[in-house]
Symmetry: C2
Subunit: 320 residues, 2 copies
């Protein structure tokens, strides 16, 4: 079985780590959101790509879920002493990544080539692809004006009220080399438990990706999402707050509606929801999306593998 | 008494630190070589400026003489893991300086403004000026071709045989704002025990600086050098090797000849040489330069102050 997974940061990284422990390396392709990428203190920073790669390489900080384990903070301290901008937390080891990526980008390498090179250096065997080599930036439209994603997310701590989103550069962006082929060859497409608005929608809105995902009969190549909303709350990040501010009840049902039923012009054949949300099963089924109920919160490494196994198993049930 | 000091890296930094402990802050202006500055992994690095400032701020690594104390090396380790260039040793705290300087340069600030800002943040009260705001790069002409300074100095460990030097960009460079005024107002101009070829000559070759240094009667505004060569060896760095390869005997006498006697169209009224070189006193005096013999090796912080006091005292003797 070949699997393609669409992922944002922490939640997505944990699920793909579980998948990577179950599948042969050449059976898993991970397409990562780059809408959060930005230029900061002269460096190109790709938060979701790095979170996914650090997690797969066993280099991630187990407490925060982002950044690196055994991190030091000397450079940022020194920069802050000089009055430099320190609102975006950059550890020293993490800085090494941004410095080398920025250097290679300036030398003419594409982000997908650099990612491949980094994966090789870090011993990551599955295929990790940025959603595009073209720069795309997610903007959050708020009651205080439109903000670049990191300004909203980190600097303003998600405080401004959200009115919508837009993705600058997306109309002309192309999927990174290999993405459309990987989707075409896959037997299962997974939408990871990442923020639908700002982690998954940017990937889905790159011209060519959504059509590729839904091009084939749903039964043989289903799309299964894992809800990032559990008991009305996001496991991490502002997804629930975003749903509320946009006028939706934050729930796994809203996530199911967001992506829509494959049978009804949408994406999903199935969605994995948490045991806490069992009462939503029927409403989800009414949309034409098969629900599967299981424990979805990934606290320990074994939880990742268990959830990944449940998603893979769900596919075989969908086909039966 | 107002003093201007021309300085390169480690040796110069130690002497100006001694001077800063003896003089009121508004009485000391330090003009620092920037010919060693270079662009590396996307950062503008100014080794001599940083060594001088770190030393004055008490932030310097006491063992190496360059870099910072309490340094960590995570970023460079992480960059090296990814196959990035790690031949130039950049500590994490030091990186904070380069990141912020590069950010400010890209925002349009001049190097002298940035240096002033950094001095303020680090609590440095004396005036530290880069020799120029214009980029100047020292090249070492060797038997293996012409090499940018850091390639010769760090990457090649000074191994290629030196044939000469040239300073790209120097013809059109202007002294940084304040330099000519500080020289004009000074009662004493000190050439620190820095490498004459690659630390002091770049400063002297900026159009306007040498004429300003020798514009006034030598007796009232003398120039005094401190020899960086002791007992035929450089205290630090390749100065002695350079003298030999260029066909000169490396000695305090060669240093005195290098700068020349003020009375004879050169620069110096006096030169401070080490007790080990007492036998050179007469030959130096024959050049028309007054020698002063004292212990010039600065191992401990008190040595810096003692040598600085000796140079200041030497000026009053020159005038008597």
């Amino acid at each position: 079985m070949k699997v393609v997974a669409l992922a944002g940061g922490v939640g997505g990284a944990k699920l793909v780590d579980g998948l990577a422990r179950l599948l042969l390396p050449d059976r898993l392709t991970i397409i990562v959101n780059t809408g959060d990428d930005f230029d900061h203190i002269g460096l190109r920073i790709c938060p979701d790509l790095d979170t996914v790669c650090y997690t797969l390489a066993g280099l991630a900080n187990p407490v925060t879920g982002w950044g690196r384990s055994g991190e030091t903070w000397s450079a940022l301290e020194s920069l802050a002493e000089l009055g430099g901008p320190s609102w975006f937390r950059l550890g020293d080891r993490d800085l090494g990544t941004h410095l080398e990526r920025t250097r290679l980008l300036r030398s003419g390498y594409r982000l997908s080539e650099i990612t491949q090179r980094f994966c090789q250096a870090w011993g990551i065997k599955v295929c990790v692809l940025p959603m595009s080599d073209d720069p795309i930036s997610t903007w959050v439209d708020t009651d205080e004006g439109d903000l670049p994603f990191q300004e909203y997310f980190v600097r303003r701590q998600c405080q401004p009220r959200v009115k919508g989103f837009h993705f600058v550069g997306i109309e002309k962006a192309k999927p990174a080399p290999g993405i459309l082929e990987a989707i075409q060859e896959s037997d299962l497409r997974i939408i990871c438990p990442s923020n639908p608005w700002v982690s998954i929608d940017p990937i889905l809105n790159i011209p060519g990706i959504k059509p590729a995902l839904v091009a084939s009969p749903g039964i043989k190549q289903p799309i299964i999402a894992v809800s990032p909303i559990v008991g009305g709350e996001a496991i991490k990040g502002p997804a629930a707050k975003m749903y509320s501010e946009l006028g939706f009840h934050p729930s796994a049902l809203s996530v199911a509606r967001h992506y829509g039923a494959r049978s009804n012009g949408g994406l999903l054949s199935g969605i994995v929801i948490d045991s806490l949300d069992q009462d939503l099963e029927d409403s989800i089924a009414d949309l034409g999306i098969r629900p599967r109920v299981t424990d979805t919160i990934m606290k320990k490494p074994d939880d990742r593998k268990r959830l990944a196994a449940s998603v893979l198993d769900f596919r075989t049930r969908l086909n039966s």
